[in-house]
């Protein structure tokens, strides 16, 4: 899988896709959506779609994509290679969402939570396939959040297509399992070849599974936290595990919208009515200076 674009810039999102097999533009196709890397505190999350003509579903099943969750990394790589080889009827596309994108979405002033990000990414990929001319008649999706709500939303978005959202869809529908393999292969490769922008001191490549409850991962996070800058962008800052370590190990930072009690009040309302004795009247700076945040320096 050619992830060179991601290796050049792993701070945003990156789309990869196979060429659309000619038959997928002619015959009604079934399309599966799955994800990889939702839970880990390290590395990207990948959304993938995989599609093939309805008439060739049996051929897809014959590739033994059905049991993707039980496969090892090398077995998945092999299966993906096989799908590519027999690519005259199978197409795929995927979006790699960087840990930086996940963090900035979830931590932005206008919150964009992981579920919304996931739904929008899946929707985007389905639309991409349609725009590429794939004749989609059915879509199968592994659920994110409530399956009924998600299904309704996708069905409304794609009225001409039958949408099925189900938990554990990768075990039920081969096309979802195939998407799962694409997603997992992409994530494994992205993590393996991750280009750290930051020059890390005493860098340790052994971060365990990357899952927040893995003691090795937690130890890696504690080792690579920098008091002012926090973590490298390989880390999802929006994960509770990461935040807990920052709260303990990193320096405090206040922002304009911080809720810490540093906001000046305008004075008690009673002060406008009760006599509190003479107030100190000093000359307020001219509005020219006030508007520009300037005042005389009284100390250095």
């Amino acid at each position: 899988m050619d992830l060179s674009e991601l290796e050049r810039d792993n701070t945003g999102r990156c789309r990869l896709s196979s060429p659309v097999p000619a038959v997928c533009r002619k015959e009604p196709c079934v399309l599966g959506v799955d994800e990889a890397g939702r839970g880990p505190v390290l590395g990207p999350m990948v959304y993938a779609i995989c599609y093939c003509p309805l008439s060739r579903l049996a051929d897809l099943e014959a590739l033994k994509v059905a049991d993707s969750k039980t496969l090892s990394e090398s077995e998945r790589d092999r299966l993906f290679a096989k799908m590519e080889e027999d690519g005259d009827f199978v197409g795929w596309a995927l979006d790699v969402l960087s840990p930086n994108l996940i963090s900035t979405s979830m931590l932005g002033r206008v919150k964009y939570n992981l579920n919304s990000l996931s739904h929008d990414t899946a929707t985007g990929l389905i639309q991409y396939a349609l725009d590429q001319g794939v004749k989609i008649s059915q879509v199968f999706v592994d659920t994110v959040g409530m399956p009924e709500t998600y299904q309704d939303r996708l069905q409304q978005r794609f009225p001409g297509i039958t949408v099925t959202v189900k938990a554990k869809a990768d075990a039920l529908y081969p096309v979802v399992s195939a998407a799962s393999i694409c997603a997992k292969v992409a994530r494994d490769q992205a993590v393996r070849n991750w280009q750290f922008l930051e020059t890390l001191q005493d860098f340790d490549a052994d971060y365990g599974s990357g899952y927040p409850n893995d003691p090795k991962t937690k130890a890696w996070l504690r080792k690579h936290v920098e008091p002012v800058f926090g973590f490298p962008q390989f880390v999802r800052f929006s994960w509770r595990t990461a935040q807990a370590i920052l709260e303990k190990e990193a320096e405090s930072v206040t922002w304009e919208d911080s809720t810490a009690g540093d906001q000046e009040g305008t004075g008690r309302i009673t002060s406008y009515f009760l006599s509190e004795g003479p107030r100190t009247h000093h000359h307020a700076p001219h509005r020219y200076f006030l508007e520009r945040g300037l005042e005389p320096a009284t100390t250095l």
Binding site: D262, H283, A297, T298
Partner: protein
């Protein structure tokens, strides 16, 4: 060590090289508030600068390989020393007598005020605001110098398209009609207000009446 960030005119960078202690930060009286404020003396060119600080909440600096909390930015801008001298002249004028300068420009709290007496062409400067009798001085009643400063400020405000009107307007928004739509009165009021930041209240009140 705490680090400070200053914006200075480029020619000042030679001042500290040209003589020992070429640049001196001193505390002098703020002629408006009467409290202390930081000024900068260029001892080489004998020029006075006021120090203004840009201060907003929630800022820090990255300075090379360090972080400095506060995010203050200090500006040194040339300031006419007459504003500070006027403070002492007006204070001493309660007695209505002609006095030698070294008896007028005296301050227990801000003793560095004596540096003002070393400024070049001091007599020429004082000519604008005082009556002279030999080597003694008394402040002029006319206030013409201040009127002149207000007019100069008005011209500068127009040239620099500063919004002087009472209506609320974003400083980022600039309309081509800015100058014509702001009334002359607005310029006078604004310029008077700016100059008032540099003079005692009693002078500001007199100037306002004028």
């Amino acid at each position: 060590a705490r680090q400070l960030v200053f914006l200075l005119p480029e020619y000042l960078k030679d001042a500290s090289k040209k003589m020992k202690r070429g640049l001196m930060f001193v505390k002098l009286v703020n002629p408006c508030s009467g409290e202390g404020a930081i000024y900068l003396f260029d001892m080489h060119l004998q020029q006075l600068f006021e120090i203004k600080v840009f201060k907003e909440k929630h800022h820090s600096w990255f300075i090379n390989q360090s972080v400095q909390s506060g995010g203050l930015l200090h500006f040194a801008t040339p300031m006419d020393p007459l504003f500070v001298l006027l403070h002492y002249l007006v204070k001493a004028d309660k007695e209505g007598k002609f006095q030698p300068l070294d008896q007028v420009v005296v301050d227990d709290i801000f003793p560095n005020c004596v540096l003002l007496l070393k400024l070049p062409e001091l007599e020429k400067l004082l000519h604008h605001v005082t009556e002279e009798k030999g080597t003694t001085y008394k402040p002029l009643r006319s206030g013409l110098w201040l009127v002149g400063r207000v007019k100069q400020t008005m011209a500068a405000l127009k040239t620099n398209h500063v919004n002087v009107s009472a209506r609320v307007q974003s400083t980022a928004f600039f309309s081509g009609d800015q100058v014509s739509s702001d009334k002359e009165e607005d310029y006078i009021r604004y310029a008077h207000g700016l100059i008032s930041d540099y003079i005692p209240k009693e002078l500001s009140d007199d100037l306002s009446k004028y």
